[in-house]
């Protein structure tokens, strides 16, 4: 194939991945890595390097949105970034030692888990009866926000600081290892471990993703995993696609479409695992 033709196809696929990632709330990175490895047959280290850059672009570009909503708990985010950045550096260093096949299997498992988590809709919006831990109080992590749907101000307290930190470290490792935002794990840390309301967990997670990704991206760059020929069209394409997808999201909240893509994601995840085990991934 002519290099420029391939280049344009790469860009187009990335725009699509960005749109889809925004619609599903999973991010473009988790979509583009399987496309680059399974379909285009690229080296998975290059796919991950391109993805991590796109994660920084989309999350930093949208950071203002998350701060403006006044739901994001900035202090909580900054405090937990200590764990995610440390994890991300660890993950990026480990990724350099692992063969592509192992990364593919881990990616498949994480993708399957993310798709499954997305499938389960959460009932309890604001956890009740949470007694804030003294450590969380000392760190001033408790917060409040106005919920337009409920029409009132929600005050909440958080707990489980050590567990939250531990889970966040793991989220950072996965982000650094696979070049994705790993928002699902960040949400688990705040939502399940620290008992923050789901809205706070989601927006704070988005706020943290860019800083987490930046911790590992430098390592990827120096290692030579960010190939301009791949990373440039992927980063710009996903950035463009995410902006478009976020606009679309306001009009399109169909549960049926999500279900279809969910099945697709599970199939893709299984393929990443299978190809990794087979050893046919580069």
């Amino acid at each position: 194939m002519e290099p420029l033709t391939f280049f344009v196809i790469l860009f187009g696929s990335s725009v699509a991945a960005g749109v889809l990632g925004a619609l599903l709330g999973l991010g473009g990175g988790v979509i583009i890595v399987p496309i680059l490895t399974l379909m285009a047959g690229l080296n998975i280290h290059y796919a991950i390097g391109a993805s991590i850059v796109s994660v920084i672009a989309t999350s930093s570009g949208a950071a203002a949105t998350y701060v403006k909503d006044k739901i994001t708990n900035l202090r909580l985010g900054m405090f937990l970034e200590m764990a995610t950045t440390t994890g991300a550096v660890t993950g990026a260093l480990v990724a350099g030692l692992l063969p592509g096949q192992a990364l593919s299997v881990i990616f498949g498992l994480v993708l399957a888990h993310a798709a499954w988590t997305m499938h389960r809709s959460r009932q309890e919006d604001v956890p009740k009866g949470v007694v804030g831990s003294p450590l969380a109080t000392r760190l001033r992590l408790h917060g409040a926000y106005y919920d337009p749907a409920l029409g009132r101000r929600i005050e909440y307290r958080v707990t489980g600081v050590p567990q939250g930190l531990g889970m966040m470290w793991l989220a950072g490792v996965i982000s650094g290892l696979l070049g994705i935002g790993s928002g699902v794990f960040k949400v688990i840390a705040m939502d399940i471990m620290m008992r923050a309301p789901i809205k706070v967990s989601t927006t704070t997670s988005n706020f943290m993703i860019g800083v987490t990704a930046a911790a590992s991206a430098g390592i990827y760059f120096v290692r030579g995993d960010i190939n301009p020929f791949i990373a440039a069209p992927v980063a710009l394409g996903i950035l463009l696609g995410t902006v478009a997808g976020t606009r679309l999201l306001l009009r399109l909240r169909g549960a049926a479409i999500r279900k279809v893509f969910l099945v697709v994601l599970i199939v893709v995840a299984l393929q990443m695992i299978w190809r990794g085990v087979q050893g046919t991934i580069r």
């Binding site: 280049f7 701060v67 200590m82 760059f221």
Partner: protein
């Protein structure tokens, strides 16, 4: 028992929110500038059919995608010094690399500015926390940069 911080946290009137919002808009600017530089590099590369380090012939796709090359069409600069030198010399791949590095640096700037904010607030606890994050980021950024 309620402490005063609960009422101001994330309430929008808090200085932290205002400052972070200002930083966030600056970040968006940083992303746009980086994306612009990357786009210039892409167009330059497409028009000249040259990475700046090697010519790109129509049958060179496998070479462009080959893993970790030290020369030829698959080579690109990976250190700050090589990227800057290459960009100054007008090499398309170095220009793209410059945009990438700027993009990677954008969140680091956010954290650095937050450190100054907490210092100004005499909030030593969060000065320490953000300083820790900044140190890890810089460690990641400069790991292996020769």
């Amino acid at each position: 028992m309620k402490d005063a911080t609960v009422h101001t946290e994330n309430g929008g009137v808090e200085p932290l929110t205002r400052m972070e919002l200002a930083i966030s808009y600056a970040l968006r600017g940083g992303v746009l500038v980086s994306a612009g530089i990357i786009l210039v590099g892409i167009l330059w590369f497409a028009l000249t059919r040259d990475t700046g380090y090697a010519k790109v012939l129509p049958h060179y796709l496998p070479e462009l995608l080959a893993f970790h090359q030290t020369s030829g069409p698959g080579f690109f600069p990976t250190s700050l010094r090589a990227v800057i030198a290459g960009a100054m010399a007008g090499k398309p791949y170095a220009v793209i690399g410059l945009g990438m590095l700027l993009l990677i640096a954008t969140p680091v700037v956010r954290v650095a500015l937050s450190v100054f904010f907490f210092l100004g607030q005499r909030d030593w606890l969060y000065t320490g926390i953000t300083l820790f994050v900044l140190a890890v980021l810089l460690l990641g950024l400069f790991t292996g940069v020769g």
